[in-house]
Amino acid sequence: MSKPGLGITRNHRQQAQKALLDMFSSATGLPIGLYEVENGKLKGIFSDGSLDIFESHCQYIQQIPGGKELCQADHCNRAEAALNASDELLTLCHAGLYNQAVPIKVNGKTRAVVLYGEMQIEGEAYQTQSLENHQQVIQKLGLGQEQAEKLRHLLLGAKKYSPERLDEIKHFFPRVEEWFYIIMDEEDRLKSGVDRVTHDMQTRLQAIIANAENLVMELPWINTSEAQQMAREVLFSALALDTLVQNLGHYLEDYHFHKRPIGPLIYEAKRVYEAEAARRGIEIRIDLKEARDHPLEISRNHMQHALNNLVHNAVKYSFRSGYGRQRFVKIDGYPQKGHYVIEIKNYGVGILPEEIESGAIFRDGYQGQLTQGEYRTGSGKGLSFAHQVIQQHHGTIEVESRILSDKIEPEGEPHLTRFTLHLPYHQPQEKPKDG
């Protein structure tokens, strides 16, 4: 299962496309549906069978048991035909109404197919074919005489266009098509631009990370702790920068859900931030129960970065060890009522109750009021990103933060902060859209 990423582009692009299609429907009086090409396959994006604009003939068939499925399969078949065509096609639906199927090409590739119509066309040849299909659908659905009569009546009452009027409509559509092209091309440019910037940044980061780790681990002539500390700082900063760059890419990436164990993602988040935690005198402890037995349906890259952001926050906002006390970030995982629960706890800078109650803490760009000085380092995007990822997985994320004692430590008032994620094992199936 796949769905659009969090980025501005795809969601906004689809809204703009929907507005264009609505405009076309209003101007022509014809219903319209859009199929997008995703991974080489067509996927219905916009086609609302509940609209009044749909012919009564179609609405009647869809109410008959098995009718809706026949209509959907027929729509897909006609869209598939246009996908492989060089130009638009006049197609006849399984129940006897005509549609135009238009492949939308961007930069030489067919990116979508639009179907519009549900009409009769004047002329004996058109009528004959229409009635042939009409007879076939009556047989396929096993309709009785009364139902067949009603369907025939509705078919004959459908909008009827002359071939000349159809040509006028066909000439109008390219204006819609032109906007489709502009919108999709713009999205391609943005994605491609982000890909290139991300790629270039990560290529440079590769050299920094490798050289920094070599300095830390391999070169014996660095024998002062100060020099090693500096090399570690470079390494940690480069690794953290890498995570930010990846976040940038994932904002635009689509979700692809597959069954996977969650454990390796949690251990990966620990691995990424373990060194930074150690520098602060903090240990990351993990205790997962039954994580291997039941994989979760997740979009791996998104979930990895949500977990990375949460673990990084826990590390970043933990007080350094002091007073002989051992500090730790604790990650627990356990199954609970069809969900897998992940708790991430830390001890340090807290979150105010009003920030939690209002949801401000998950707002894009928001920085917690208690984060001051060295703790005010984030962009305010990490939690917002994690929150959106969990929502896209139909999960929940809760936060609690409470003061542990009255004692003020050198780094401030100590809070125990806990983020609790409830992730469903299975994603709900997408409901097929009517049309």
Partner: protein, 131 residues
């Protein structure tokens, strides 16, 4: 005897600092920089214990789209027309799921996202060689 790794990667900046620790760990690294060099040196690929394959090479398009994914094309070509049996570890900065799936379906031994720490790459290589 030192394990031989063919690393197909064009970027000097990337490969230099990562190769050094691998060589220190006892691996022999043979570098190939372009798709052309790969197909001119297929015998070296058969002899190697492992191949590290960058997904983006200079003589094959941007590499950022599936349709022009050069590393993938090279891998397919090596499988189909050169009966490659040497395990391949794919290196990619583009970690998109559809790309990972394509690579897994083709049978790569591992997929390593760049940037990678030398120590991690060494561990992943050792794991593949052990398997």
């Amino acid at each position: 005897m030192a394990k031989k790794i063919v690393w197909i990667e064009d970027d000097v900046d990337i490969i230099g600092p990562v190769v050094r620790p691998l060589e220190r760990a006892g691996f022999e690294i043979v570098r190939l920089r372009t798709a052309k060099e790969v197909f001119d040196n297929v015998a070296k690929l058969h002899e190697a214990d492992l191949i590290l394959l960058d997904m983006l090479l200079p003589d094959g398009g941007s590499g950022l789209e599936l349709g022009r994914y050069t590393g993938l094309d090279i891998f397919k070509e090596l499988l189909q027309n050169h009966a490659l049996k040497t395990p391949v570890v794919a290196l990619t900065v583009v970690a998109r799921e559809e790309i990972r799936k394509n690579l897994r379906d083709l049978g790569v031994a591992d997929i390593v996202r760049k940037p990678v720490r030398p120590s991690e790459l060494k561990e992943r290589i050792e794991q593949v060689l052990k398997d």
